[in-house]
Symmetry: C2
Subunit: 397 residues, 2 copies
């Protein structure tokens, strides 16, 4: 295909693949698309390793990095009690002071208690929360959600020959735009409304990803079918990628009929051979229909679409203390999910009921495990078929 | 255009227009599309008048009728109190006995009280509920939601030269399918999941309308972008129309790229010149963005997307007694909305805040009032442009 985005990014197909897994990123890039590594789960040192591995495996072909840069700390659900140690931590955390330790201290005790109750109910061995809070794991969970952590990831990324840096959530801060421009790297940002898109363009973003509410992960409520034409009209001539629910070539053709310059897919890679999705979660995804997702705050503190599971049932249920804001809920949930996945892999039934992961409604269209390369080729072939079908309709006039 | 659906239904464009307004139905049919009259608001006598008018204005071109056939009476929110008159009515209504009077008697007093409070708060003169309950208006509100009422509408419809009869909600009952088949009229049905589509085909439906959650009116949660390919794959070779959020030619092209045989649009006609949408509601729609809708039970008892307004804020708010099931909530809401619209037209500010109507997220794309005929022509022109753009991308290979 020859499109403006293909020219500009040096790719064969305007198919951008968001994945936390370096193998997927490299496979998509090598197949003619554009892999984007989600850096949110990595420490700077680990990200450096991952990017070095990608550099070694893509032979100079283009790829990018996606960084989640936090806004202000959301203290929803935290009720500071004046005069005790917790309230002091909550207040400091609310002001963004003190880093991870302060944030950990700001998590209300009732949330740890609810979590402990959940582990007991589903007969999952309780992790040592106190120890977990202090471990490197806990640090890597928390690091990326501070502004300093995100800036370190941006610096590591820009030291590699990346072709795009993306902001997964909210308007990229000036530091990201400035550093990227200085390095000659285009900046992308995900948006869920036309108004957000307008703000992103004003902030200097070069490529808008319009992500509909059917998407996996953090998402709004406007559907891809409505959002894409609205955003395209709002930010023209800035190119717009369509995201949200897209896992097939028919949907890629549909997106481009809507005016998108290409597509940004995340969910579809989770069931590829390369994906590091835990096997029990991958099996759930292959079995799931499009109705089996829910938009819930229970993993990150912001509404994020994910597989329905006992985890979302319980956090959305009547006994729940309610989700905290971001990043506090993330700190509560991620440590628990590590333990749940670890135990689920060894066959624990309760842990398997609880386990889930972020995924879009297109999980209903993800029914076989295949190599990421094959997903790209299948999408391109189906895309061509869809365009041919449309031609048959109009040519007969 | 030449498609299977165009051949079968004798139309130029596979564009189906659902509207409660006969002028829109005739305008779309005369422009080469297929108008479908929503009969839910009509008594049999009134429907007879409307269809006779359409027959006189379409010169034999094809049109259809959409009938809402109720399932069982949903008694959600009604708590029968043994031993008093109301409980008896509730029990009888729950068994589907006694028709409209029983249903009216089954509405809990707290719902009428909440409604009266709402009218007071927004300074809208209270209608005489007791009188309203007894009027012909109330009868027409309630008639269509009984099985007998719906059957009468089906009989009236099939006595006209209609080209399609559609079931707006749920699987069409055997009586509808049998009568339609006997009359040689194809049956369509709206679905929100692939599983529903499978059931509809088993019930004898000839044309499936796969309606995404961004649609106006009764709607599910799966988006058009995901639902359409899923349903197409599920019911092939039965033709599938895409619905939900579609108001432009780009979206029509996108829908057909997804595998749909055409589109079914409802919202887009509400801001046409012909539409009988109250002027204050039409003005709200023209001003609204795609974020200004909500899926709420507050008008019919089932989740239906509509404009956010003081009405939805209050019924979804903390002081609300909660919506009843269908059709009881419909009986409560429709009488109130008639009064609200009547008063709003004479300039009452509170009534204007309360007023709303069913509309999809594509309300954000509906920004000018034009004739329905022009909407058809603009969609077809934009459709052709979108197909051309896709061709430019692939032809360069």
């Amino acid at each position: 295909m020859r499109t403006e985005v293909c020219e500009r990014f040096g790719i064969e197909f305007p198919l951008f693949a968001f994945s936390h897994c370096r193998d997927v990123v490299a496979a998509v890039t090598n197949a003619g698309g554009f892999g984007v590594l989600g850096a949110v789960a990595y420490t700077p040192a680990r990200l450096e390793e991952e990017l070095r591995w990608i550099d070694d495996h893509v032979g100079g072909r283009p790829y990018g990095v996606d960084v989640l840069v936090p806004g202000k700390i959301d203290m929803a659900g935290v009720r500071p009690r004046m005069g005790d140690g917790e309230s002091t931590a909550a207040e400091r955390a609310g002001r963004g002071e003190g880093g991870l330790d302060t944030m950990l201290a700001a998590v209300p005790e009732e949330h740890w208690t609810f979590l402990a109750g959940l582990f007991e109910k589903y007969e999952v061995p309780l992790p040592d929360f106190e120890k977990a809070k202090k471990t490197r794991d806990a640090e890597s969970m928390g690091a990326q959600v501070t502004k300093e952590g995100a800036t370190a990831l941006i610096d590591v990324s820009l030291a590699h020959p990346i072709g795009l840096i993306a902001s997964a959530l909210g308007t990229p801060p000036p530091v990201m735009v400035e550093k990227a421009k200085a390095a000659g790297v285009p900046v992308a940002a995900l948006v869920g409304t036309a108004e957000h898109a307008r703000r992103q363009v004003a902030a200097g973003v070069d490529l808008i990803v319009a992500q509909g509410g059917e998407a996996g992960g953090h998402t709004g409520e406007i559907s891809t079918m409505v959002l894409v034409p609205e955003v395209v009209d709002t930010v023209a001539p800035i190119p717009v990628l369509a995201a949200g629910g897209i896992a097939t070539g028919r949907q890629m053709a549909a997106s481009m009929a809507l005016g998108a310059a290409g597509v940004w897919c995340g969910s579809v890679w989770l069931t590829t051979e390369e994906a590091e999705t835990p096997p029990h979660v991958k099996a759930k995804m292959i079995a799931a229909g499009s109705r089996d997702t829910i938009r819930s705050r229970s993993r990150t503190g912001k509404p994020a679409r994910q597989l329905k599971s006992a985890w979302t049932d319980e956090w959305e249920g009547p006994a729940s203390p309610g989700s905290l804001g971001m990043p506090l809920q993330m700190i509560v949930a991620e440590g628990a999910m590590r333990q749940i996945n670890k135990v689920a892999e060894s066959g624990n039934e309760g842990a398997r009921e609880l386990a889930n992961y972020f995924v879009g409604q297109c999980v209903g269209l993800m029914n076989t495990v295949k190599p990421a390369r094959q997903v790209v080729y299948d999408m391109i072939e189906e895309f061509a078929g869809a365009v041919d079908r449309l031609n048959t309709i109009t040519e007969a006039d």
